[in-house]
Amino acid sequence: MSEQVFKAGDFEKLDKSEKRSEPIVRESISAWKDAWIRLRSNKMAMASLLVLFVIVVLAIIGQWITPHDYQTNNLSATNQKPSSEYWFGTDSLGRDMFARTWMGAGISLQVGMYAALIDLLLGVVIGGIMGYFGGRVDEILNRFCEILYSIPSMLIVILLIVVMEPSMFTIILALSITGWINMAWIVRGQIMQLKNQEYVLASRSLGAGPGRILFRHLIPNAMGPIIVTITMTVPSAIFAEAFLSFLGLGVQSPAASLGTLINDALKAMTVYPWRMLFPAVLISLTMLCFNIFGDGLRDALDPKMKK
């Protein structure tokens, strides 16, 4: 076969109309939109999202829609059953359980969300640095993480709260001290996979620095697993806070979390079981919805993993 030689006259300009001969008729769908479509078709996940939304709204306004507030004692009406006056009954000091339950839900949700937020910030920055720079930096940070991770986190959290005074702030702090490691490892793994992709090379050859590449290109592409990890962090932080309350290390009275309410109710459960019912159902429902929604989100964002 002889070699083909092109000359300038061999090419001719196409008519403008030909440019649109193969138009993309369907609207283009971004990866996020695609994930949203998959998520939307998952009925269980959407139902969980709705329930979570209702819980969050009630946690914000719940304590204002009853005439009673969460901290006024009423010693003439202690341990009441649920009634039209006290919708969820009252506790051993006659405080309205409806207001206390929703205020408790608010505190439990806040603990979960702030803990997840701090995990996100620390985990993304440190995991990003580990994954992007690699080598010595990665090795040192990774060793540090491994040692910290090998110490049972719940024990560190308990020790820290025993030393500090228990409050919402110290509980979030203690939970975050060990919580970020998991996130850091997930981000690190993602970045290591992504950093050799062509678009990173392209960006680098255009003169982008590590900060820009990391936060404008790599992290956004690793967002799927990051979001899934966050949805899983929230319920585990809520559970951890409830566990601390059980040890008497939760938020202190008159404030309450779902954990402290359950712990209080537990002491008198054989006599006044309904005091246990509402906080216990609410914490279980919240965790259930986060878990189902998290599973749905994972399936939607990572179709490869879908079973």
Binding site: S150, P152, A242, F243, T270, A280, F290, D295
Partner: protein, 310 residues
């Protein structure tokens, strides 16, 4: 393999050392000391007390003493219960916690594998969705809700089991179920997803093409591979069982380690908190260590990649 085991062992010792130091300095960071609350003790007696507990020595010397005692398994005296050593408390309480824990682990693994398999073999059928929903429920309901619910329904209302204590073999049933539910649900989910993955693998098709019977394929080919992720869960499961036992023992009034742990925190019995924390940590790390070793033994691919990576 020997190098791998040694490396893991070294890590474990390092972690225990870090945690022991951290507990020591954290407890020293608490303002005041355990004897300050006692009213108007004569100075001589106070000094005697300090000397007795070694609190009059400089911090570094106290630290060295503490470490030296730890190496000899001496965790010191309880500060709130007179003449009781932390080691003797552990000796007394551990047997109950151990029994509960072992029964719960057996139940969790058996039930988890069984339901995981049922679910995977009925993929996308009613039985699958049903088990998976129960499993999500099991992962979501906190174990203090489960424990107190079981106690109320079967202990108080129906009266089938005694409400508290561990005097009768049947007394184990409720606490063990409460402890095992969460790990069992987790194992069921793990088994299901890894079983589904394995069942679509090429070697299962090969086995089918060879004409092997369904049962041989299930047991010899599928289950053996599907069980790998479950092996890695043994470490976290131990952690679950320990936090769970703290709750379950308190609710069912069982005098195990968990109950002492809760009491030590409520009483601010610092030596007991430190001792029990370290004891729990060592158990957890041993569990994790054994998981690593077991995983290396079960999955030959681990060894290969380790060798390549150095």
């Amino acid at each position: 393999m020997a190098r791998y085991v040694l490396k893991k062992l070294l890590y474990m010792l390092l972690s225990i050392f870090v945690l022991a130091s951290a507990t020591f300095f954290l407890m020293k960071a608490i303002p005041g000391n355990p004897f300050q609350s006692e009213k108007n003790i004569p100075k001589a007696i106070q000094e005697k007390l300090y000397a007795q507990y070694g609190l009059d020595q400089p911090l570094w010397k106290q630290y060295l003493n503490y470490m030296d005692n730890l190496v000899h398994f001496d965790l010191g005296m309880s500060m709130k219960q007179q003449y009781v050593t932390v080691t003797s408390i552990i000796n007394n309480g551990f047997i109950y916690s151990l029994q509960l824990g072992v029964f719960a682990i057996i139940l969790a693994i058996a039930a988890g594998l069984l339901f995981g398999l049922i679910s995977a073999l009925n993929h996308r059928k009613f039985l699958d969705s049903f088990t998976i929903f129960i499993a999500v429920l099991g992962v979501s309901i906190p174990n203090f809700v489960v424990a107190s619910g079981l106690q109320y329904v079967f202990g108080v209302k129906l009266g089938w089991f005694s409400v508290a204590g561990l005097n009768d073999p049947t007394d184990f049933i409720l606490p063990v179920i409460a402890l095992a539910l969460l790990p069992a649900a987790f194992i069921a989910r793990l088994t299901r997803s890894s079983m589904l993955e394995v069942l679509s693998a090429d070697y299962i098709k090969t086995a089918k093409a060879k004409g092997l019977t369904g049962r041989v394929i299930m047991v010899r080919h599928a289950l053996r591979n599907a069980i790998l992720p479950v092996v890695t869960y043994v470490g976290p499961m131990t952690a679950n069982i320990i936090t769970g036992s703290v709750i379950v023992e308190q609710i069912f009034g069982i005098g195990g380690l968990g109950k002492f742990f809760v009491n030590s925190i409520t009483n601010r019995d610092y030596t007991l908190i430190m001792g029990l924390t370290l004891f729990y940590a060592v158990i957890l790390m041993l569990a994790r260590f054994m998981t690593d070793i077991a995983y290396g033994l079960v999955d030959p691919r681990i060894k290969l990649s380790r060798k390549k990576g150095g």
